[in-house]
Symmetry: C2
DNA sequence: ATGTATTTTGATAATCATTCTCAATTAGGA
DNA sequence: TCCTAATTGAGAATGATTATCAAAATACAT
């Protein structure tokens, strides 16, 4: 039921912000929530176009940005020039292992690292708003 | 003397790779090694242009990339659309605190975080080649 | 249900940092 | 010095994203 929850959060955001519910936004929301994680804009656009050829690229870009603003998605860049999005629930967080061989992206959580980050920030008088931790290298399959 | 050491490492790289030592490369090297850290290509280009108006932007881009290849520099992107470079000595490493208020970039090292990253990678059978850890937020000055 | 003001859409143009192209220049070994 | 390959600078190209804008759709009041 996580999926319908995210859809609901987005719909509430639309109302709260005085935006409008449109056929395109609902379609993109549906595709996005059922897509694999870390999809690029281009990938999602191609997937959509197969069933909804009339939806424009700009609308996909704009809508994904709205997803991020509403809190149901994270925007990320892994250095390949593509902007990627993943849907995520409130409070969830994880970091990424990015395989430079095959492009596979694995996820991990490490509470201790997060705590150490916080203590580093404290010692600098710095107030953390967000962070990015990415490990680049070869996945188990690619290293052989 | 760290500076002359880096210059020497780059010159050896040039020879080893069969490249040529040029007036432009020496000038850019000199400016780069004496510039503040985390300079964007644009910033370095403007600094250079004041004294050497004939050096082209493309040459600056190409030369900074060579610095990174030779190991005397790191290329980095903090999400503002600019590619930045910092000169760094062999074996050195640090991560960054990026102030979203004033753009200030602070540096830190944390051996424990690095070790935990390695153990995360191990547990995934992943071979780390590089990593990126950036903390975004407000610096001590901007948070007041 | 109908009208109306406002938002949204899709096609296309614009953006913008970076990279590419290529003729002219330069470096450096023979 | 000569020769060849590398380098340079100017401008074009790139490519993902964003802006523009007329047409379409939505939300709400009548
Ligand atoms: Mn993820
Ligand atoms: Mn640094
Ligand atoms: Zn892989
Ligand atoms: Zn600041």
């Amino acid at each position: 039921m996580k999926r319908e929850k995210k859809a609901e959060v987005f719909r509430e955001f639309i109302v709260r912000e005085g935006l409008k519910s449109t056929r395109q936004r609902e379609i993109i929301l549906d595709f996005f929530l059922s897509s694999k994680r870390h999809m690029s804009v281009e990938e999602l656009y191609r997937k959509l176009r197969a069933r909804h050829p009339s939806i424009g690229y700009a609308t996909v870009c704009r809508t994904l940005k709205l997803f991020a603003q509403s809190g149901i998605a994270h925007e990320m860049r892994f250095g390949d020039g593509q902007t990627r999005y993943e849907h995520i629930a409130e409070g969830e967080h994880h970091d990424h292992l990015v395989c430079t061989g095959c492009g596979t992206i694995a996820e991990f959580e490490n509470k201790t690292i997060e705590e150490l980050q916080a203590s580093v920030a404290d010692s600098h008088g710095f107030l953390i708003h967000s962070h990015k931790l990415e490990l680049y290298g070869l996945c188990a399959r690619c290293r052989k």
